[in-house]
């Protein structure tokens, strides 16, 4: 069987496991097959014997390293060290936490393993340790990719003390992220049961991801940047920010921070991860596996609201779809979208981001010392409502999530059905996705901006709506034509989705430029609107002229 370098490295610290009651040889075997399987995560059903997927993790590591390079640039500026390190660790914690929640929760909450491993002579400590190390291997890869460049840059500027603190803190941060997530899950697991438990976990994950997105946006606002001269004082709420804890030791030992300011924060940086570790060992581990079993229990789900939802869907599908097949795919897609938790978990954070991001940019207009009324009148004169285009770009790229599903094996159904063309299927699915996820979030973002800017921007919003449709269709046209829910989730984003991002933002830029120019001309918006509507119709007609041969289904 394939050997992994990482496992050989693990052999060096074997004594740690031997001492804590873990059966090391068995844990190693479990990890080995887990790593082999990760390399083979096959996206399509029945795609046997193909080797692929190996490089998706590597590709994403390059992406992270790229981000790390940008973070490293911050090290070169003349900001105070405390500020720089807040950004470095804030970014790191943010990215680790979000990948932990969205990608590795499945490893943490896995119950499939039980039927395979527990009938065999394998003790629970070993299974748990294998899970933990499995996650840790990926997290440390991501950590090194992001944190590597700032480490190197900082080493040149600040010397050895910086490097030592940095490396110790990386270990603390990884532990912090894993243990805190486990403790939170464990708390939820012990309170709830059955289907409800799954729903709660899903909501919790969504809320946490959204919270992370917002928190991350706020880190940069710890400091007031006045004329590029940064002033800071450690205020009480700094104690609530994990990035501040981890940044404090740098200022204390490497920078010129005063002991009275940074000692407290520095102590927290050590105490909390260590405390989380002990809570995890003492309180979480003994109960976690048993509580996990609850995920297998079936509870009742509400029937009444489901019936009402069904009725409403039938009504809307009749309005939106003329074709009968299209209509049934519309309903099928809406139902799957409403029920599939893993999909919601992937989609929701980026949808929430679509609403939050324009607002964050808007808040950036705020200058210290101005009153709220002055602030309001200053943005009223601007064209800041065009920030909604960030929502437009994010929402339209989110369409690609529709191809993923936990139950991707059910995709055989498409082949069995007597469909001569995939067009009604794709149309129905796209309309359902639009109605379910894109439209509500777009409307929500628009309403906020309407409330701020007043009714006069309504024509602009109408234009943005049609530009959203144009963008959505263009992205659909240039990306691979794939069937809804036909492939399994990947741990990391693939190349296509990254390409879609770039294309989306590029085209969005063009649309914004057109919008801006049109805004300066008489009847400009009306003309632009007419063009966009026309474009929508033309592209819609063109894009769905496809046959089964255009569909990328792998071995389906």
């Amino acid at each position: 069987m394939k050997e992994f370098t990482i496992l050989k490295l693990l052999d060096r610290i074997r004594f740690l496991f031997d001492r804590s009651g873990v059966d090391y040889p068995i844990m190693r075997k479990i990890l080995q097959i887990k790593l082999i399987m990760d390399q083979r995560r096959v996206p399509t059903i029945m795609a046997a014997g193909k080797t692929e997927g190996k490089n998706t993790y590597r590709t994403s590591l390059f992406m992270y390293a790229f981000m790390g390079l940008f973070v490293a640039l911050i090290m070169l500026f003349g900001f105070p060290l405390y500020y720089k390190m807040n950004i470095v660790f804030g970014m790191l914690i943010f990215l680790l936490m979000t990948t932990m929640i969205s990608d590795f929760s499945s490893v943490l909450l896995d119950i499939k393993d039980k039927n395979i491993l527990l009938p065999r002579p394998v003790n629970t400590q070993t299974v748990n340790a294998a899970k933990l190390i499995h996650i840790l291997i990926y997290l440390s890869g991501i950590t090194l990719a992001i944190a590597g460049p700032p480490l190197i840059a900082g080493a040149f500027i600040y010397g050895a003390a910086y490097v030592v603190i940095y490396i110790v803190e990386l270990a603390l941060v990884c532990g912090f992220v894993i243990f805190v997530t486990s403790i939170l899950y464990s708390a939820i697991l012990s309170f709830f049961d059955g289907e409800k438990l799954k729903d709660i976990i899903n909501y919790f994950q969504i809320v946490l991801s959204v919270f992370m997105v917002i928190a991350y946006q706020l880190i940069g606002r710890i400091f007031e940047i006045v004329d590029l001269k940064i002033t800071y004082a450690v205020k009480w709420w700094n104690y609530l920010l994990p990035s501040a804890w981890f940044a404090a030791p740098f200022e204390l030992f490497v920078g010129q921070g005063r002991l009275s300011d940074f000692a407290g924060l520095s102590i927290i940086a050590v105490v909390i991860p260590v405390a989380a570790f002990f809570i995890y060992i003492k309180a979480v581990l003994p109960r976690f596996e048993r509580n996990l079993q609850k995920l297998n229990n079936y509870g009742e789900r509400a029937g009444k609201s489901a019936a009402r939802r069904e009725k409403r869907q039938v009504f809307i599908s009749r309005l939106l779809c003329r074709d009968k097949t299209e209509r049934s795919f519309y309903r099928f897609t809406s139902n799957v979208l409403a029920n599939e938790r893993k999909l919601k978990l992937r989609v929701m954070p980026s949808l929430a981001m679509a609403v939050v991001l324009p607002l964050v940019f808007l808040i950036n207009f705020y200058r210290r010392g101005t009153t709220l009324a002055e602030f309001h009148s200053s943005i009223l004169q601007s064209k800041a409502y065009l920030y909604i285009y960030f929502a437009v770009a994010l929402l339209s790229t989110s369409l690609q999530y529709i191809n993923n599903s936990e139950q991707y094996r059910g995709a055989w159904i498409y082949k069995v059905l007597p469909l001569t063309s995939p067009a009604p299927l794709l149309k129905g699915a796209m309309k359902a996705y639009f109605m379910k996820y894109i439209l509500p979030f777009f409307v929500f973002a628009s309403l906020i901006f309407l409330a701020i800017f007043g009714i006069r921007i309504l024509p602009d919003i109408l234009l943005m709506f049609f530009n959203l449709l144009v963008l959505l269709l263009v992205i659909f046209a240039v990306s691979n034509k794939e069937l809804p829910f036909y492939k399994d989730f990947q741990y990391t984003q693939d190349k296509n989705s990254i390409a879609a991002w770039f294309i989306s933002f590029a085209i969005c830029g063009v649309l914004v430029a057109a919008h801006l120019i049109a805004g300066g001309l008489a009847y400009g918006i009306t003309i632009n609107l007419a063009i966009s509507v026309l474009l929508t119709v033309v592209i819609w007609k063109a894009v769905f002229r496809i046959t089964w041969n255009n569909i990328k289904t792998g071995a389906l």
């Binding site: 399987m37 039927n115 394998v122 509870g299």
Partner: protein
């Protein structure tokens, strides 16, 4: 080694709840060496749950379960080295090849890589699936997967075997081989505990049949004993009678009528 009259598995007043639902309502059962036990009952009767408790997969039960004389609650997992299990739902790591999967499973029992490999290859050949030894399990048919699971459960030459629906997906020839294998294993002193819905197989090879319904044992004995007790001709009829089911004709008629509806 225990004497022949000491049970290898002993279950006392086993109860289990999933939420508010009582799945097992007090099972008492002693299993002896060399028995082939057919564990039958309608869907949802608690068959798989009983097996999963004995294997330590499901926890949180009430009552006592002793395997080889030791209570399995005491956390000692040594007894699992002498147990083989074929699960009802074919759960395998199916992105692995058979070779990788079997060498992993064998490794968990502490077997040597070489001996696992040669043993696995031979068993695959005997089941006529040696040509897929190095293919991914995800490409297997249902029957091939089932054969692989059976092989995986026997690699370490266990003393007790738990087979949950072992015949599902197997072709007629393989069923014959497997039935023969079960009988021979039992004659060597191994204990086989298996559940199935195929009544005539259970009828033919079991030395003891246990019928469970609604979380309780409703019949326990050899086929001859059950037949005498219920005065029915086949195990299928006994099954229907004991589980109080006699509406199959009516349901079938209604079914056909519904299918024909416009």
């Amino acid at each position: 080694m225990q004497s022949t009259n000491e049970p290898v598995v002993s279950i006392k007043d086993l109860r289990m709840n999933y939420g508010d639902k009582e799945v097992l309502k007090g099972i008492d059962l002693d299993i002896y060496k060399g028995q082939i036990i057919g564990y039958i009952g309608p869907n949802g009767a608690g068959k798989s749950t009983t097996v999963k408790i004995m294997l330590g997969i499901v926890e949180g039960y009430y009552g006592s379960v002793r395997v080889f004389g030791e209570d399995i609650k005491n956390g000692n997992i040594e007894y699992k080295k002498r147990i083989g299990y074929v699960p009802e739902t074919a759960e395998v790591y199916d992105s692995l090849t058979a070779q990788e999967y079997l060498s992993f499973i064998g490794g968990l029992y502490g077997l040597k890589p070489d001996s696992i490999d040669s043993k696995a290859k031979k068993l695959m050949k005997l089941f006529d699936i040696e040509e897929v030894y190095q293919s991914r399990i995800s490409s297997y048919s249902k029957g091939m997967k089932q054969k692989l699971l059976i092989i995986a459960s026997l690699l370490h030459n266990p003393d007790i075997l738990f087979f949950d629906e072992p015949l599902s997906g197997l072709d007629a020839n393989s069923v014959m081989v497997f039935k023969e294998v079960m009988t021979m294993l039992a004659s060597e002193g191994k204990t086989i505990f298996y559940s199935s819905h195929i009544m005539d197989v259970v009828e033919k090879i079991s030395s003891r049949i246990i019928l469970i319904n609604g979380g309780q044992i409703v019949a326990d004995g050899t086929f001859a004993e059950l037949k005498e007790k219920s005065r029915e001709g086949s195990l299928e009829e006994i099954f229907n009678q004991m589980t109080g089911f006699d509406r199959h004709g009516a349901i079938a008629q209604e079914f056909i009528a519904t299918v024909k509806e416009g």
